[in-house]
């Protein structure tokens, strides 16, 4: 583990020096009915952010910002959500997005997670309900 961490730190330091393009990942989660149980953000297959337990992203937070090579990259978000009122109702969702980082610019990606599921509230009373999940990624070239 120590060698892997040292290698990651070396490569991160070099990337910061040698690459002039940057990628910023901002995250926001909107839901009154569900809580995040697990959340991981990956870049090109490597996990770059794991949310600590009990984190609430009701305000937009930057979860990753680093220099990257210009060109296409895959931003992925893996999320497990649990209904606040009825924890039996859970969802798992993995979404991947290809973004293209321009040369010498910052690409600002805004991930928005929405959950308007009604199962936890409705199923007990009406024996019906629905899962309604959304992941939106807004991309903007900045600076």
């Amino acid at each position: 583990m120590a060698r892997v961490t040292a290698l990651r730190a070396r490569i991160a330091a070099l990337s910061a020096t040698l690459f002039s393009s940057k990628l910023r990942v901002e995250l926001r989660s909107k839901s009154d009915t569900a809580r995040l149980k697990t959340l991981r953000v990956s870049l090109d297959g490597g996990v770059v952010y794991t949310a600590p337990a009990q984190t609430i992203f009701d305000r937009a937070e930057v979860v990753y910002e680093h220099a990257v090579a210009a060109g296409p990259h895959v931003v992925a978000v893996e999320v497990e959500r649990q209904d606040l009122r009825e924890p039996r109702f859970s969802t798992w969702q993995t979404s991947r997005f290809v973004v293209v980082v321009p040369e010498k610019r910052l690409l600002w990606t805004r991930l928005e997670l929405e959950d308007e599921s009604s199962l936890g509230e409705d199923f007990k009373e009406h024996e019906s309900g629905q899962y309604e999940l959304g992941v939106r990624l807004q991309v903007e070239v900045s600076e």
């Binding site: 583990m1 120590a2 060698r3 892997v4 961490t5 040292a6 290698l7 990651r8 730190a9 070396r10 490569i11 991160a12 330091a13 070099l14 990337s15 910061a16 020096t17 040698l18 690459f19 149980k37 990956s42 870049l43 090109d44 297959g45 490597g46 996990v47 770059v48 952010y49 794991t50 949310a51 600590p52 984190t55 937070e61 930057v62 979860v63 990753y64 910002e65 680093h66 090579a69 210009a70 060109g71 296409p72 990259h73 895959v74 497990e80 924890p87 039996r88 859970s90 798992w92 991947r96 290809v98």
Partner: protein, 656 residues
């Protein structure tokens, strides 16, 4: 139901071990999983080894780092703290390492800002569970005679990491050079860590001495006292153990500030101590004392089900059946699943048996069999399917039902009934960390290629997106999901009324063959033997060396992963075997109990006949003389009220 000394010790140790990962938890056994040695890994670094890169960048005039002063350090600390507060650990480590490992940091290392940056780096590495590097950086703060807040925080953090890592030996060695006088900063913490180390090594006497040295002002006072009590009990000195447990359990004997220093964990240990006191009293047949101690466990404690169950057991042994029933009723009212659910139901039925309430006991035993025979069958089925078992124990909550063909309640009962070894959580955590690192290593190979292109001054070739988004590992993961679903369908088909055995066996064989092929693909997808790294200190050489290192680390990590996976499977199988053993025993007891209820009813009838023959009418027979019993719903019985009234019409019939 009677406990014995060995059982008691095992129960106490298991009790402590069930809270893995906490600072006061039972130290992992000597056979606790550590990184297996089968896969040769490169030697551990002493730091981040950024020096050669920084020199190479400076030679190429690419070093973007500006001058470093206290102001820059303050900004760096502020940034790193905000990154850590958001969980952006890797970024915090990278930014701190770039500065703390640089040559320009040396003159600032002794300043308050420099020491803060070093502490933050060690702390961040500890959060990432990179214990060796964390220890190296935190130990730097102990090498100066300056006993400032960073010194004290380093000692405290080193002790925490020593406990968390499960291998306190190197941390104790690092802290050994510090003054051990009672007033020295962190002396109590270090004594506690030393005690844990001795206990792990199986040396109870030095462990007791170390625990005794933990001062009342230490945040680990309760943990040390509790562990000392466990050792005393383990050595058969129940009285000594009881005294130590009492110090924590009884607020009058507890040091006034202990709850303040101990935090939330103090109250958890107080609950454990009360349970331990109950068990010690129970062991000595002091049933009333045992009830009192168990009663002290508060209603909001997570140990309440244990306390109620143990207390009911002691009341049963004391022949206070009404008391046992009341406690079991309380336990039932708690609702939800708990680890004593199965045993409590059996105990409840046996209390009824002891009270000669045979129909009630029979109903409870029948309920137990109806509920737990499917669980036992599912446990036996899972024993043959390691992957489903792993998924059930370590997967997300909702996945449990699908592993057992949608039987959510049975799955939940297995999850709550199985008493997983504390080291299972440790292995699962190591596996999760390793998977995270493996993902990063794969991505790193491509990043190093881009860095090489950037250093060479050429354009960075765009990577094919398809390969990034849908690589072989993703496809293999999808394949795993599909085979798991197929296995579940096969299981469900096998449980139907008339399963087509021949066809199912053929499908299972084919599935095994496909899985074996996938396993061979998995092996083929592992990186090839890395080329021998070139010597030299210029940038391309350094990068090619790191590219080779990334491949070597990936190979080593895969070896470690395989070994950890095998260990995890072994632990899961052991836990399941224990569950199966326990349930089989309880099912046998339930069946034996039902036989007892039949025998009991027969004996009751015999007694009744015997009484009749002697002229005693049983209550039932006396009741049968009651005329009101024979009236139907629309009839009313007017009993003779003891006075005859003359009919007022008698003699008056002819008047009209």
């Amino acid at each position: 139901m009677r406990m014995h000394g060995r059982w008691l010790r095992a129960a106490l140790v298991a009790l402590a071990g069930s809270s893995a990962g906490r600072a006061w938890a039972q130290p992992a056994p000597a056979s606790a999983p550590v990184a297996p040695s089968s896969a040769p890994a490169p030697p551990e670094p002493s730091g981040f080894e950024l020096g050669p890169y920084q020199s190479a960048l400076a030679r190429q005039r690419l070093d973007a780092a500006g001058p470093l002063g206290t102001e820059q350090l303050r900004q760096l600390i502020e940034t790193a703290e905000s990154l850590l507060s958001l969980g952006r650990r890797d970024e915090a480590i990278a930014s701190l390492a770039g500065v703390v490992d640089s040559s320009s940091f040396m003159p600032l290392a002794g300043l308050d800002e420099g020491r803060a940056a070093t502490f933050l780096l060690g702390d961040a590495l500890g959060r990432a569970r990179v214990y060796d590097l964390a220890r190296d950086y935190l130990a730097r703060l102990l090498q100066t005679p300056k006993s400032d807040s960073w010194y004290r925080r380093s000692v405290a953090r080193l002790v925490e990491l020593g406990l968390e890592s499960g291998d306190p030996a190197p941390f104790v060695a690092t802290l050994a050079s510090l003054p051990a006088s009672a007033g020295a900063p962190g002396a109590g913490d270090i004594a506690y860590l030393t005690g844990i180390l001795h206990e792990r090594a199986g040396n109870p006497r030095p462990a007791l001495a170390a625990y005794a040295a933990v001062s009342r002002e230490s945040r680990f006072w309760a943990q040390a006292t509790y562990r000392a009590g466990l050792i005393e009990v383990d050595q058969g000195r129940l009285g000594e153990g009881e005294k130590l447990f009492c110090r924590i359990a009884d607020p009058k004997q507890t040091p006034r500030l202990a709850p303040l220093f101990g935090g939330n964990e103090f109250f958890q240990i107080r609950d454990l101590s009360r349970l331990a006191l109950g068990r010690v009293a129970h062991e000595a047949y002091r049933f009333d004392d045992a009830r009192y101690y168990y009663h002290l466990v508060p209603g909001d404690s997570e140990r309440l089900p244990e306390a109620l169950y143990e207390s009911a057991t002691s009341r049963y042994e004391a022949k206070d059946y009404a008391g046992a029933h009341a406690l079991l009723g309380e336990l039932r009212e708690l609702g939800g699943h708990h680890v004593y659910e199965d045993e409590a139901l059996i105990l409840d039925a046996y209390v009824d048996l002891a009270q000669c309430e045979f129909p009630r006991a029979d109903a409870k035993l029948s309920e137990f069999l109806a509920r737990y025979e499917p669980v036992l069958a599912a446990a036996r089925q899972l024993a043959k399917d390691p992957r489903s078992l792993r998924s059930l124990l370590g997967g997300p909550d909702g996945a449990a039902a699908s592993e057992l063909g949608g039987s959510g309640d049975v799955a939940e009962m297995i999850r709550t009934s199985v008493r997983i070894d504390a080291s299972y959580a440790g292995v699962s955590r190591q596996l999760a960390d390793l998977d995270r690192e493996l993902g990063g290593l794969r991505a790193m190979g491509a990043e190093i290629g881009q860095l090489e292109a950037a250093v060479a001054g050429g354009a960075v070739a765009a990577r094919p997106v398809a390969a990034l988004a849908d690589g072989p590992s993703e496809r293999l993961a999808r394949f795993d999901e599909q085979t798991t679903a197929l296995r579940r369908l096969l299981r469900e088909a096998g449980q139907s009324q008339h399963p087509p055995q021949v066809e199912l066996a053929a499908i299972a064989l084919e599935l095994n063959a496909v899985e074996a092929e996938a396993a061979s693909w998995r092996t083929r997808s592992t990186p090839t033997e890395p080329a021998a790294p070139a010597d030299g200190q210029d940038m391309p050489m350094l990068l090619s060396r790191d590219a080779a290192l990334a491949l070597a680390l990936e190979r080593a990590a895969q070896g470690v992963r395989a070994a950890l996976g095998a260990r995890q499977e072994e632990l899961a199988q052991q836990a399941l075997a224990r569950l199966e053993h326990r349930l089989a025993r309880l099912v046998r007891r339930a069946r034996a109990g039902r036989i007892e209820t039949v025998l009991g009813r027969k004996r009751a009838l015999e007694l009744e006949v015997e009484a009749l023959s002697q002229g005693f009418l049983p209550q039932g027979a006396v009741d049968s003389l009651d005329a009101a019993r024979y009236l139907s719903d629309d009839e009313e019985y007017w009993p003779f009220d003891g006075e005859d009234w003359e009919d007022e019409y008698i003699g008056g019939e002819g008047l009209r």
